[in-house]
Each structure stands twice: as structure tokens, then as C-alpha cells.
């Protein structure tokens, strides 16, 4: 449920960017979310719809680009995507460790409606 706090922040950031660019209405917000970032897409959209009411972002569609968690095996040097369960390297069977890939959580871009402005 910590999506409550971050959805508020997404609305604020998107509005700041849109205002800066001329005050256009936002139609789409593209987010990058790593699988280890602990955030749930549907929950963000739900809170976003509440917080964005009456702002430039009202009605905007959120598009989530999910980034799988990349692990690195120190034993054999293999990079691999985290399996659904556990951290085992598919190459040698030893356990790998997380990398920075999979922890992302940022706004990539906005689509704004510039018709009539």
C-alpha cells in the first residue's frame, strides 16, 4: 500500500513537467518499474486516478514498462534473470546475487495533448 505515497509523487512530478512545457493536458505517463522495486501497477493506477482528479494529469493512462531483476553469479560469472523462485544460476546451479537492474522506478516520458494550445 506504499503506492499511496508514490502515486501522489507521480501526479506532482507529471504536473510540474507539463506546466513547465506549457500547461498541456497529460494523456499518458510512461513509467519504468523494476521487478524488485516493490510497487504494484494496478495499485499505482488506482491511487493515481484519485490524486490526479482536477489536475493536468486527470484521466491520463499509466503505461508500465516492467524491468525483470538481473542477477549475477559470482561462481561462474553468468548474468541471468531471477527465476520465479530462488536465486539459482541456470548455468552452474550456485546462487547469484542481485544487481542494480530490477530496482528502477522512474518516469520515462509523458504524452501531452498540444492541440489548441
Amino acid at each position: 500500500m506504499h503506492e499511496y505515497a508514490v502515486s501522489k509523487q507521480i501526479v506532482k512530478m507529471a504536473n510540474d513537467e507539463a506546466l513547465h512545457a506549457g500547461g498541456h493536458r497529460i494523456t499518458e505517463i510512461r513509467l519504468a518499474i523494476g521487478d524488485l522495486s516493490t510497487f504494484v501497477d494496478e495499485s499505482i493506477q488506482m491511487y493515481f486516478d484519485i490524486f490526479s482528479a482536477g489536475t493536468l494529469a486527470e484521466g491520463a493512462k499509466l503505461v508500465f514498462r516492467r524491468i525483470p531483476a538481473a542477477f549475477f553469479c559470482k561462481t561462474c560469472g553468468q548474468n541471468f534473470l531471477k527465476p520465479r523462485t530462488g536465486f539459482d544460476c541456470p548455468n552452474c546451479g550456485k546462487q547469484g546475487s542481485p544487481t542494480e537492474i530490477g530496482k528502477e522506478f522512474f518516469i520515462e516520458s509523458l504524452e501531452v495533448d498540444d492541440d489548441g494550445n
Binding site: 500500500m1 506504499h2 499511496y4 505515497a5 508514490v6 509523487q9 507521480i10 512530478m13 507529471a14 513537467e17 507539463a18 512545457a21 498541456h24 513509467l31 524488485l36 522495486s37 516493490t38 510497487f39 531483476a69 559470482k74 531471477k82 523462485t85 530462488g86 536465486f87 546462487q95 547469484g96 546475487s97 542481485p98 530496482k103 522506478f105 522512474f106 518516469i107 520515462e108 516520458s109 509523458l110 504524452e111 501531452v112 495533448d113 498540444d114
Partner: protein, 209 residues
């Protein structure tokens, strides 16, 4: 029209956390963020640390709970300087809450601040507070599979305490699996196995901290 943004959603929290960290470092204050599920034994462990450091180092406790002052009252009764934050439903503490708590506590130079985060193995891992050390407390009854299920939280820890080891004879707890999971996620984090009830392993942990 597309507007390119490429800005982190946690950056606002991260900036406050960085200020907190710099302020603590400048005044030689150590800040330990204690993370665990509800009932793992955070408050009991914090109580043990406070007792151990009594008369040696000034300790402050920041208590994060959704509601109530039960934990803060317990520490207050021991004479510990404690500040309760009730998040009113919020599932984590954030950097701004810590900044405000510290502005009230006014910790002295060289002191130790223990933060008891909201009992939760998910959300607190997303909010950097500006702490010096993240101490994850996992208890034996929770089971050995927790590192495999709460990857972000275990991956966020600098040190791990396995509490309630006096219950090991009664629970099917696979120690090797637990340790392997922790080592995979945080290879440098020490694991302290202890029981606050019997005192087993407690001295080694208290000496370390």
C-alpha cells in the same frame, strides 16, 4: 507531443535522506534503521541495546507504528528518550518523518538513534531514511524461506539478526537455506543468531553494535 522526463520517483525522498545522512555524519551520530515483520522482536531487541549502552552512550529511539504508543511507553518507562511517530495507516517511515522526529529529539553529538520502522517486510525497503545501518530482524517462527520471498527487504539489509533461536527445537527451520538466502542477497551482511529471552548469542551482537 512527448516530453522526456527520466526522473526517479523516489528522488524527492532520496534528497531528504541524503540531507539527513550528511547531518548525522557531521555530528557523528549513528542511526540504525531496524526493519522486520510485526512480532519479530524489534522492540525487545531495541530494549536490550538500550540497557547495554546505559551510561556508555546516549541513545534515542524513534518508534514508528501505524497506531498506539505501546512501544514508546515501554521504552519511556526505562528512561529512554523516545519519540513516537504514528503513521495513521501508513506502512513505512519516510525521510521527512525522520527529519521532523530528529528536529524534536535534538540528539546530542556522538549519540545513537535507533529507529523502529513500521512492522512490514515490503514497504520500508523503498524509502531511504538517511540511516547509517539497516538492521533486519527475522525470527525463527517466521520460517527460513523469508529471504526468498522478501527479496527487496533482505537485499536492503546491512546486517541480519535471527531472533528467538530458543524456539529452534520446536520449529522446522532450515538454517542452511536461511543463511544461503541471506548470503546470496547481501554477501557482506553478518548474521547474528540470538534469543533475547535466554540471552544466547546476545552478547556477541551487543559487542558488535
Amino acid at each position: 507531443m512527448e516530453i522526456r522526463v527520466m526522473k526517479g520517483i523516489m528522488d524527492a525522498n532520496g534528497e531528504i535522506a541524503a540531507q539527513n545522512r550528511a547531518n548525522f555524519a557531521a555530528r557523528n551520530i549513528t542511526v540504525v534503521n531496524v526493519l522486520a515483520s510485526p512480532g519479530a522482536g524489534k522492540t525487545t531487541l531495541i530494549t536490550a541495546i538500550c540497557n547495554h549502552l546505559k551510561g556508555k552512550r546516549k541513545v534515542y529511539v524513534v518508534e514508528g507504528d501505524i497506531a498506539s504508543t505501546i512501544d514508546a511507553d515501554r521504552l519511556d518507562a526505562m528512561g529512554v528518550a523516545v519519540m513516537q511517530i504514528n503513521t495513521g495507516g501508513g506502512c513505512h517511515l519516510d525521510a521527512n518523518m525522520l527529519r521532523e522526529a530528529v528536529s524534536v529529539l535534538q540528539p546530542e553529538e556522538g549519540s545513537l538513534i535507533l529507529i523502529e520502522n513500521v512492522g512490514n517486510l515490503v514497504c520500508p525497503a523503498a524509502f531511504d531514511l538517511g540511516d547509517t545501518l539497516r538492521l533486519l530482524v527475522a525470527s525463527v517462527p517466521e520460517g527460513h524461506d523469508k529471504p526468498y520471498k522478501y527479496v527487496s527487504m533482505f537485499g536492503y539489509a546491512d546486517a541480519v539478526v535471527l531472533s528467538k533461536i530458543d524456539l529452534l527445537p520446536y520449529i522446522d527451520f532450515d538454517m542452511q537455506s536461511f543463511e544461503a538466502g541471506v548470503h546470496a542477497l547481501v554477501p557482506d551482511a553478518p548474521i547474528f543468531k540470538l534469543s533475547c529471552k535466554t540471552g544466547d548469542g546476545l552478547a556477541a551482537f551487543l559487542d558488535w553494535i
